[in-house]
Structures are given as C-alpha cells and as structure tokens.
Symmetry: C2
Subunit: 149 residues, 2 copies
DNA sequence: TGCATAGCTTGTTTTTTGCAAGTAACAAAT
DNA sequence: ATTTGTTACTTGCAAAAAACAAGCTATGCA
C-alpha cells in the first residue's frame, strides 16, 4: 500500500505526493483519453499494471476525491469508475505531459496520423486552451473519449 | 538505481517512465522556481531527499539530457547544475502542477501574499502563457529565479 | 453448477531510505 | 612541505517500503 505523506506545503510537492508515481496518472489517462470506465479495461490498458497495484491506486484516487466508483447497473458484478470535478482538474497536467512526451522523446515512434493529431492538439492548446479543455471534459462526461493517446 | 523501462509508446506513459516518482520533478522545481544550482541546495530543499537518491536523480536527469553539470570555477569542489533546453521543456508541466496544487488541495495553507502570487500566475498563464514561459526561462537562465513556490 | 469480475493474499524482487564512511579540492595551521 | 580541517559530493550497506506475479476468494449472474 502506497503511503501519502505530506512532505511540505509547496503545491508542486503536494501534487507529487499524490501523483508522483508511475501508475496513478496512467489510470486517469485511461479515463480521459481512452474512455475507460472498468477495472478490467485499466488492467488491460497496455502497460501491464498488477491487480493489487491497480486496486491500491483506484482506492487512493477515490479517497483523494479524484474519482468515484459505483455499481454498474447493467452488469452488477462490475463497478463504473468516473472522474469527479477534482479528477477533471488533472486534465491540464495530462495534456502538458502528452505534449511533452510528443516533443521531447525522440525514441517515440509515432505514426503519421498520430503526429498530425498531436500538431492539432498543440495548436488548439495554444490558441484556445479553455475551449479545448471544455471539449475534452464533455467527451469524458459523455463516455465518448477523444482517443488522443 | 531507479530503472527506466519503456512500458509503451504512449507519450504520457513515456513521460511517467522518466518523471513518475516523487523526487525528479522536485529537483527541476528547485532549479526553475527557486534558482537552486548546487547539490547542497537541493539537499536542503525542504522535503528531505536522501543523498543517494539525489545523486541518482541528478544522474538520471543528466543522462536523459534534462540538465548538465559542470565544475563551478569559483569553487572547484562544487558542481553547477543547469537545465538544458529539454529540461526547460518541463516547465509547462511544473506550471500546471503548481496551479493544480494551488486549486485543489484544500489542506494547503497558503499565506495571503502567496495566494495573490498564485492568482497572478493563473491569470498570466491564461492570458499570455508563451510570454510568461519566456520570462520564466529567462529568469532561470540568468540565475534570478521567480520564487513562485 | 460454471463463469466472469473485482480485488485480496502471499511470496519474492526491486526501490527507497537513513546513515556511515570515503574521496577530492582547497585552505589554514604547524 | 606536511598535517589538519572543511566543504561538497559519492558510495556502500542494512532495514523498510513498494512493486510485482501468481494464485485465490467473494459476489452476482446464466
């Protein structure tokens, strides 16, 4: 079980207390940019998270108010995980990481189509970030993700 | 020594492969928002990093091309750590974390003066982010940090 | 009963942490 | 000139925490 100690009052340090590991933001990415909502979707998300780590991070995200889980009425053995308003507040950080990952990791092999999508994202962030964020938030809320990554 | 395995081609996953821990971005914060340049400054940065972790993270940041270290000519036992252009590319992520930490962590006790500074930062990011980033970069390069956090 | 989903348990490996000791450059004292 | 001391890292080691992998359990269906 990952601990969550407050190391200092610095806002960046506080962000890293909660988000500073290899998995937490990846779950948020799956929800925001891939439209995932279920445990097994996160599990099969591509990076190979272990079941206990996934369970731990979902709990931490929920206990910190970034997401909520509730029974999926169409199939009662499953739970639906959705972002709260606080969870939605993480999208700008994800967006900057997306841009950073695209700009600075030369070893990333991004197919042409994806590169075009990225240029589009970068352009939109520069010209009308607030409107762009609103669109992403709307897509998350309507379970119709943008699939940007 | 922290590993750095490429888990997938996703830019966010790649960013988290390198940056996804509690210390790496804190060192970059110290350089960008506090004007730190020396090992002992990072060591005394407030969050209590261990000497071997600091040494490890500085090496990782250097080997990934985010910072360079060179002998400090005024005092040859010391090394000066400075950001590369790639390291400067991390500032937008830090800036979003700063804003996030300010907006969403209710337990953060931020004195009035700091709150005003934060509102100013948020306003500037919204109105002319590129110009604001240029100012921060200039302040980092001239060793005259903004002390935003 | 049999299957799927969610997630818990256990054992092992990896990483972090705290602390102690080591090295290198320089300066002041002997 | 040599010793001693100081600063600035750097390395090594043992204990603790976290991650990982695999198997197991509880619940709700069909």
């Amino acid at each position: 079980m990952k601990k969550n100690v407050k190391r200092s009052e610095c806002p960046i340090s506080r962000a890293l207390d909660i988000l500073g590991d290899k998995w937490t933001l990846l779950i948020v990415r799956d929800i925001v940019f891939r439209g995932f909502r279920f445990y097994n979707e996160f599990l099969e998300g591509g990076e190979g998270i272990a079941t206990n780590i996934l369970s731990d991070r979902l709990k931490i995200l929920e206990s910190n108010g970034f997401l909520v889980s509730k029974k999926y009425e169409l199939q009662k053995t499953r739970k639906v995980y959705t972002l709260t308003e606080n969870g939605i507040g993480l999208i700008p950080i994800l967006l900057e990481m997306l841009i950073w990952g695209f700009n600075f990791d030369d070893s990333l092999i991004i197919p042409n189509q994806k590169a075009e999508m990225m240029n589009e994202i970068i352009k939109r962030v520069k010209t009308d970030k607030d409107e762009f964020l609103r669109e992403i938030v709307a897509s998350v809320k309507s379970f119709d993700a943008k699939n940007y990554c």
